[in-house]
Symmetry: C2
Subunit: 263 residues, 2 copies
């Protein structure tokens, strides 16, 4: 089954110089996967207009169904997300009255005036829909270009999550109608490479599923097997593949034991 594809792009030097761990990408990757998207790439790129615009020109040529961008929507000089998108797409940045009103309301509550820097956050690519930010000053926005849905979000995690939860999740759910189903279990008493030949074999019968082993990092014990698929057919296949894997492991590796896992 071909899932709609997605890319996640995170702007900000702090990600590249190792000051900030990119938990935004992890959150969005998890959400998009559960909504039935295949996330193809996560990219962290620098606050440099030319380099970033080149990046987006390449991205557009890859034609993902969806692109979610975080970071660089704020009032500071290196908040360049929309300038970059304008350069890459040719869409002009235009003052959006709904966005300006949101910005005014946000700063009015803090008894602060609208400066030139704050007003800049209300200039959106022409044709954009405003995505309301209930937590911070910078509104998000959505626009479509070259058949790609672009969602532009701030980089502060609480603001990004607020907009994702309130303005994006339900509309994507409506679009894909293809939710993910997943199962995992834990195996004790073997090393990962002993499992590989059996997984390879089962995998050939379930080309549409994601089947993967990895060490259980959290408690540092055992190997986790992760199986997932999308839609009704995927759910059925996940259940069957799990049963087959457990049977083949138990009948070939006498020393192991298997435990079910919850999230």
């Amino acid at each position: 089954m071909n899932l709609p594809t997605a890319e996640i792009v995170c702007l900000g030097n702090e990600l590249l110089i190792g000051v900030t761990v990119n938990t935004n990408a992890t959150y969005i990757g998890d959400q998009l996967t559960k909504l039935g998207y295949e996330v193809r790439r996560i990219s962290a790129i620098r606050d440099d207009v030319d380099l970033a615009a080149d990046f987006f020109i390449e991205l557009i040529s890859r034609k993902p169904s969806l692109t979610i961008i975080t970071g660089g929507l704020g009032p500071t000089y290196d908040d360049i997300q929309l300038e970059v998108l304008s350069k890459a797409t040719g869409l002009e940045l235009k003052e959006n009255q709904e966005a300006i009103l949101q910005i005014k309301n946000y700063y009015a509550k803090k008894n602060l005036k609208i400066t030139k820097e704050r007003r800049k956050m209300g200039f959106l690519p022409e044709g954009s829909e405003v995505l309301e930010n209930n937590v911070g000053g910078a509104p998000g926005c959505y626009f479509k270009y070259s058949d790609i849905d672009f969602y532009c979000l701030p980089g502060v995690p609480t603001e990004m999550k607020d907009i994702f939860a309130n303005c994006i999740r339900s509309s994507l759910k409506e679009k894909t109608k293809n939710e993910l189903y997943e199962e995992k279990f834990q195996i004790f008493g073997c090393v990962e490479s002993e499992l590989a030949p059996f997984i390879n074999e089962i995998k050939t019968n379930y080309q549409n599923l994601y089947i993967k082993s990895h060490p259980a990092y959290k408690d540092k014990k055992g190997i986790v097997i992760h199986i997932s698929g999308t839609g009704e057919k995927g759910k059925e296949e996940v259940v069957n593949a799990k049963k087959m894997l457990q049977e083949v492991f138990l009948s070939n590796l006498s020393s192991i034991n298997i435990q079910e896992m919850k999230d």
Copy 2:
């Protein structure tokens, strides 16, 4: 000043589906920055040979000085890092006796035999140097292609860090001779957008420095100003820029106070 450029590439579906936070990229970004590299991109890509090979063909055309790759060196069917690099560069994978010996020794200590899957980890791009893994079974490797230094590392964080610390750091230090110098301080009693016009002004006088404000996530109080530069000249400029910034903030924003920060 033009720094040598670097890209970090992390292979693994677990990063794209939001199961694993990409702390490897943060660690390597921090290390490379301190060694005097400009990290241009961090990319997380799927365990798909064709998509990943296309990615590396693009990367090679961008000509970074250095590329560090993590993930996909192990014994399982989706450990495809070297296969992908072979496809993108045309370098053949050849059995490397030094790598095979390391793999044999690693599994011998665990009383395990060399299977076909484990032996696969000893096939490296022709001309590679082996990078010893003191923690896990998969050796890393280094090769040069199209004037780019490629370092291939496993994705398990303890193994990646072991190889980086023991086999990579000192040789990169020797190459760049350009260490980073950084200063930061914290400002209380204002919002970030009030600082923006002053930072913009100072920034125009120090084009080679990295100067950035961001909210102090950890204690959720105040704004952090981060200034860094490389080499002896950079150090001098960082000290001057910091002094100028503090002076201009204090003389324009009466309500603030400034605190020095340690790491």
